[in-house]
Structure formats: structure tokens, C-alpha cells
Assembly symmetry: none
Homo-oligomer: 225 residues x 4
DNA sequence: GATGAATGAGTCTTCATTCAT
DNA sequence: TATGAATGAAGACTCATTCAT
């Protein structure tokens, strides 16, 4: 019955949701199976009907997360066909997501660094891959269409893109300024543009940027008193 | 007395060195106090004479690591006075170090994400700060000397710099290509140069002089925070 | 109705057969109810419609086994009327069976040594009795017919017979030499013959033994009243 | 310090003693580590300083038992130089011991039938070997001295000897008649003698007929029970 | 100061058994 | 009757930390 299948999936989702909550609150090691069971309103043993062990649960949480944001990101990209605009949309989406789901990302590291003896259990730890490929595709298409140069290597561009945004996210989270997402995205795009677009008469609006920041600085000064 | 002090410090160093080895090999959770004690050729109980608990030891390891690389980086920087060359030297040093000491970095996260109940224990987790400041100083001095523009905000530049390099390091480590350090550094510098150096044929604005002075003023205001 | 009864019994047999397979493969404790259910092509819960619990199933397996080999042994015995030949046939059958079904025998011990709190559950653990009685009957009949002496007590003879064969079976199994069954049987018979057959010049002290037993029998009779 | 070594061994002995008690009372599977710890007046964790796991403890119990009885049996044998007398002494000792320590013997089976994945953990499960060798040595020496024939193979003799005694022990235990040890030993020796001794002058009794009839009468009385 | 044996709280996981469907 | 998903009690084992020597 599709009902059965549906119920099963719903249970799985409930477990994942519960687990995510608990893992985010306590981190992998301090999260207890009993807490997850409680949060999912299930018996502890029941968890093991759906997932082999604690590791399998984190993996499911993380994989689920990346699948979900891959879908969302794809939606965000579909709104424009311009390669550069897509890049900006991805940057925006990524940074927003990172700030919001910071600790899920961290959770992913648990998977990298817990090598189990059971071969095959580590399979599917390439959860980021599809997501990361979104970036690659934008770049490659842009290059195919002749909009982008390939002055910089794709791996480097990717590292620059995601690395910068991850650090930016961390900065924003630590300093508790999630409102600066736009600024960071804008600056990242400013950095990338000349290395992607063919003959961009270096960015106009330079002075405007300065003026904008002046305004903000002034506002802050005003607020300080 | 100074002998006593010296002996104490030496013991501490031996513990840190031992702990670093063990932590790097097994990660925080799988590293056992007994292993650390063995590696330090001390009894387990003795560790507790020098460090309150396991957490205190990781902290010491991480703090020590960052202090050490801060020193080394400073040495690397001292070889030139040209701001851009310094930046390149820092990038080179940082990437090399990251590739080499990848897991120490990861170790640092343990500290962020293990909130102990004991207030104050989490103090001093700003181990990266001094190190990160190296970058800031290069940029600021470059700007002060008029070599660098401040088209991009310092926090953003910092995130771009370290974020890109961390991701690049991860890529190099995962793909096992530590020889590509230079390529990555070169590309990063290529990306940064136009946003730092003055003489790049930026837009042919006339009122540049004014803007420039304005910019510097803004920068200082911003730094005042 | 008899159809119903028949179906029920068939189900029980299927369960027993499945359980035997699983128990033999894994031993009692490592055998899982789920495995038995799988092997019987039934749902786990269904097992409990036929047997109260896991213990009841082992018991059924063991009892069934002994009943079955009792039948087979009886067949083997029916081929001759000579007491000694029957004894040999039984020895041969028993050793062959032991080597083949070694672990079923072990399984029987589980029943002895798992005292359940539920009184009465342990009833009927005398599964071996009927089988062991085969030996007794051969001896007794042989004695009745005057073919066998009773120089040795029946219990002792029984222990000698089965004990020797069980150890022999173990030896054969451990050393993986199931072909030596005949040799062992032959030696056992050689040992028994002089103590059973009349015409053998029996050993001295024989009369004393008889007298002693007479005394004991008398004493018991006295005690009975 | 020999004090240290002594203390260690004493602790081990205390654990073994405690474990033996608990295992005998509950059997392997139902015996809990916590019970053993309690019985040894130690913390549960302490057990693991001395023994790797529960299995290691049973093994130690069983091995210790067999070593001990091997020693005791050797003492018992040393009291005579006559091969046959030694055999009788061994039979007597063995049966007495089996009746007394019945369940320790059973415990040994746990080791046979619990194959661990950890290679080498199963090493030393030949605890019986040295003990069993006592029998072999008596037989072989007897043969060397020309006192024993080798009409029957050594392995068969061994199986006969130990098998019979084990079954006899079980019978005695089950029927709760530990006083019949002598009877069983006597009968076993009676069985073995003609197959070992060279020229036993069997008695040329005349009054056989009388004895025979008496025997039958006794047998029937005995059967009446 | 140094030791390392002892501690025991803490947790994942298993699996016989139940019961709603 | 049959099912099999859900249960939850139970237990082996780990390891950071303590403390008597």
C-alpha cells in the first residue's frame, strides 16, 4: 500500500526532525538516543527499526539537510537564466542558509571524522557533492555560453566561493549580525565579476559603494549616542 | 625557583606535544587520557596536576598551536616590507600550514561547541584572534601607506582570504595534492590584487582624490566600530 | 475438524523444523526468534500462537528430536532378536546419530540449566527417558532370557554405554573422523561382551559383588517399610 | 615488588572465586557482571582491569578449575606406583570431583560454543588437555612396563573412562545419590581390568549356578526399586 | 609532587514479547 | 488466525576522574 510506504516515510521524517533538533542542541556526542526517541515520541528500540545506529541517524540528518537545500537552491537559481545573476542568487541563498543552519554544517564533520570499521557504512558521505555541483554547473554553462572566462580554475573558484561564504557566515553568526548578508554577497560578486565576465568595464558604482558605506557609518555613529 | 618554573613549563610542553599527537591521530572523543599519558611518559593522574581536565588539554593544544603559527607567520612576513608581498607570504604560509596541520584546525571546533557548565572555562577560546590580526595589520598598513584601497571591507577580505585558503586546503588534502599550494596562492593573489592595489586602471573618475580621502576617513570610523 | 487439527500439527512441525535448523546453526542464545520465523515462513508473532515462548520452542525441538531418534532406533533394533546384536545395533545407531546431530544434544542442556521462575514450565524435560529405556529393555530382556548376566548394575551399564559413545562422538567430531564409528562400536562391544554373556569365564570377586548387592537390596527393602 | 605481584594475583583469585560462585548459581548468560563485581566486593569497572570481558572471566574460571583438579589428581596418583591402582585412584578422584563440581564442567561448554570474532581469544580452550593426559600417561606407562595390554586403542579407552564417569556423575547428581561413587568406580575398574591386565586368572568358580540364580533374584528386587 | 589502581556513572544496542490491526 | 511494528527492560563495557600511597 502506498499508505504503508507513506507512513514509513513519515516516521523516518519524524525521526530525522527529532534527531536534528537534539543534535543541534547538544552536538553529536552529547546527544542521547533516548532524547531523540523522546523527541520523536517513540520508544528507543523503535529508532533501530529505521536506522541501524546513531551514526546512521546523523548521516540521515545531514544528507537530508543537503538534499533539501540543494532543492531550494535549485529553485532559487531557476528564477533567472543569466549566469552571473544565478551566481549571485546562489551566493545569497548559500550565505543565508549557512547563517541559519550553521550547526547542521558542523554536524557533517562528524561523518568525515568518524571512520567506522564497517565498510560501506561510510558510503554516501558525499552529501555535499550534488550541492557543490550547482556552482560548477553555473560556471561551466557561463563559460560555454561565452559569458565567463576560465582565467581561474574551477576548483579554485569553488573554494573561493564556498570558503568565503562559510567564513562570512561564521563571522556573521559569531558577531550576531545576520543582517549583513547582502553586503557580503555584494562584495563577493564584486570580486568574482572581473575574473568571470569578459570585458567588463571595471565596475562602476564604486563611488556609490563608498557613499553607501558612509551613510551606514554615519547612522551607526548616530546610534552610538 | 626559576628552575622550578622552567621544569613546570617543560612538563606542560611535553604534555601538550603528547596530547597534540594523540588528538591529531584520533580526534578529541576517541583520544584517551591514558594514551596522552603514555605519549608524555607520565602517569595518568599526573596530567591532572597540570590541567584540570581533558577539555583544558585540548584548549592548551589549540592555543599553543595558534600561538606557534602566529610566531612562524610573523617570521615569514618580516622578510619583506611590501604589503602585497607580505600578503602573498601569509597566504603561502597559511595554506602550507593548513594542509599540514589540518586536524588541529578541526580540533578547535571542539572548543567552540562544547559548552561546559563550568562558567569561565570557555574563556580564552579566542585563540585565532592574534593570528587573524596578522592579516588585518597587513591590510591596514597597506591602506595607511596608500598602497591598498579599501574598496572591500576588512572583515570581508579576511573571510575571503582565510575561507578560500581553508577550502583550498581541504581540497588539497582530500585530493591528496599538496603540491598545488602555489597555484592556489597565485590565483588568490590574482583575485585580490585588483581590489587592493591602487594602480589598477580603475574607473577614470576625476574626483578620485576626494573619494580616496573620504574612504580613508570611513575606514577609520569603521574601525573605531 | 481433523483437517484443522492436521493443519495445526503441520504448522507446529514446520516451526520445529525451522527452529532446529536455526538452533543448530547458532545455538540457543544466539538464535533469534526472527530467524526462526523467517525459516518457518511465518511472522514472528505467529510463533507465539503455537509456543508460549522461546524456551517452549527449544523444548519442542529437543523432545521431537529424541522421539524421532527413538523411533528410528527402534526400527534398527527390530531387525534382530539377538540381544547382543541389538545392543550393537543400538550402539551403532547412537554413535552415528550423535556425530550427525551433535549440537541437538547440547541443546538439551539448555533445558536442564535454565530454571524458569514459572513452575511447571520445566515439566517434561525427561525427553531422553524413553530413548534411554531402549537400552534398558535390551539388557533386561537379555537377562530374562538368560543371555546376559547382571554382574554390572543396569544404571552403570547405561552410563558406560551412553557415556562412552558420547565421548567417542565428541572425539570423532572434534578430530573430524566420522569414519571411525565402526571401530569405536566394535571396541565398546568387546568391552561389554564378557560382562554380559554367560559363557565367558567371568572374573573373580563376582560372587562377592552379588552378595554385596544382595545385602543392599535387603537393606532397601527394610527401609521401605 | 613481590608484594605487588602477590596483591595482583590475590585480586585475580578473588574475582575468579566470585565469578565461579555467580556462574555456578546462574549459568553463563544469566550471570551479570554486576553480580560478580558485588561478590568480589569490587566496582564493576575494576573487573575489566583484570579481565578483558565476561568471556575472559569464564575462561579463567574454567581454566583455573581444571588446573586445580589436575594438581589434586596428580597428588592422588602419586600415592601408588601400581598402574592399575593409579587408574582406580584417578577414577575415584574424577567421579568425586565431577559430582562436586558438576556445573563448572558444564561451564566449560560455553567456551567451546562461543566462537568470538577476535582471533586468539579462543586460545587456551584446551584446558582439559593436561588433565586428560593424566589418564593417557597411566595407560602408556602401564603398557611400557608390560602391565597393560594395548588391546583397546588409547582414545577409545579414554572416552570410555571419562565418558562413563561423566554419565555416572550426572546420574548420581540427578538422582541425588553421591554415596554410590565407590560402586561406580568398582564397576568401571571391573570392566577395564580384563582389557588391561595380561594374565588375569579368572576364577574357576563351581557354584556358579547358585550365584546365577541369586543374581537374577537380586536384579528383580532392585528393579522393584 | 607523582602514581596508577580503582571507581561507577553513563549509553548504545539487542531482542523476546505484545497487541492493534 | 495472522501479522509485524512497536516496545522497553536489561546489560556489557568505557573512560574521565579521584585519591590512597
Amino acid at each position: 500500500m502506498s499508505t504503508k510506504r507513506a507512513k514509513l516515510e513519515q516516521r523516518e521524517k519524524r525521526i530525522i526532525a527529532a534527531a536534528r533538533t537534539v543534535f543541534l542542541k547538544h552536538g553529536f556526542n552529547k546527544a542521547k538516543m533516548s532524547q531523540i526517541a523522546d523527541a520523536a515520541a517513540l520508544a528507543e528500540g523503535t529508532l533501530y527499526l529505521y536506522y541501524k545506529n546513531k551514526n546512521a541517524i546523523v548521516k540521515a540528518v545531514v544528507v537530508d539537510h543537503w538534499r533539501q537545500i540543494t532543492d531550494e537552491a535549485q529553485d532559487a537559481l531557476s528564477k533567472t537564466k543569466d549566469s552571473f545573476a544565478q551566481l549571485q542568487a546562489l551566493a545569497d541563498y548559500h550565505l543565508t542558509m549557512m547563517v541559519k543552519h550553521w550547526r547542521v554544517i558542523e554536524l557533517g564533520y562528524v561523518l568525515y571524522y568518524s571512520r567506522s570499521d564497517d565498510a560501506g557504512e561510510n558510503a554516501g558521505v558525499d552529501f555535499k557533492r550534488t550541492y557543490a555541483a550547482l556552482f560548477d554547473r553555473i560556471i561551466e554553462r557561463g563559460q560555454d555560453k561565452g559569458h565567463f572566462t576560465n582565467e581561474l580554475s574551477l576548483p579554485f573558484l569553488r573554494d573561493l566561493f564556498y570558503g568565503t561564504l562559510e567564513y562570512a557566515a561564521r563571522t556573521l553568526v559569531l558577531h550576531n549580525k545576520p543582517e549583513d548578508i547582502d553586503t557580503n554577497v555584494a562584495q563577493l560578486m564584486a570580486v568574482l565579476r572581473p575574473h568571470l565576465s569578459e570585458n567588463v568595464p571595471t565596475d562602476t558604482g564604486d563611488d556609490k559603494a563608498v557613499l553607501k558605506r558612509l551613510e551606514r557609518a554615519v547612522r551607526k555613529l548616530e546610534r552610538l549616542h
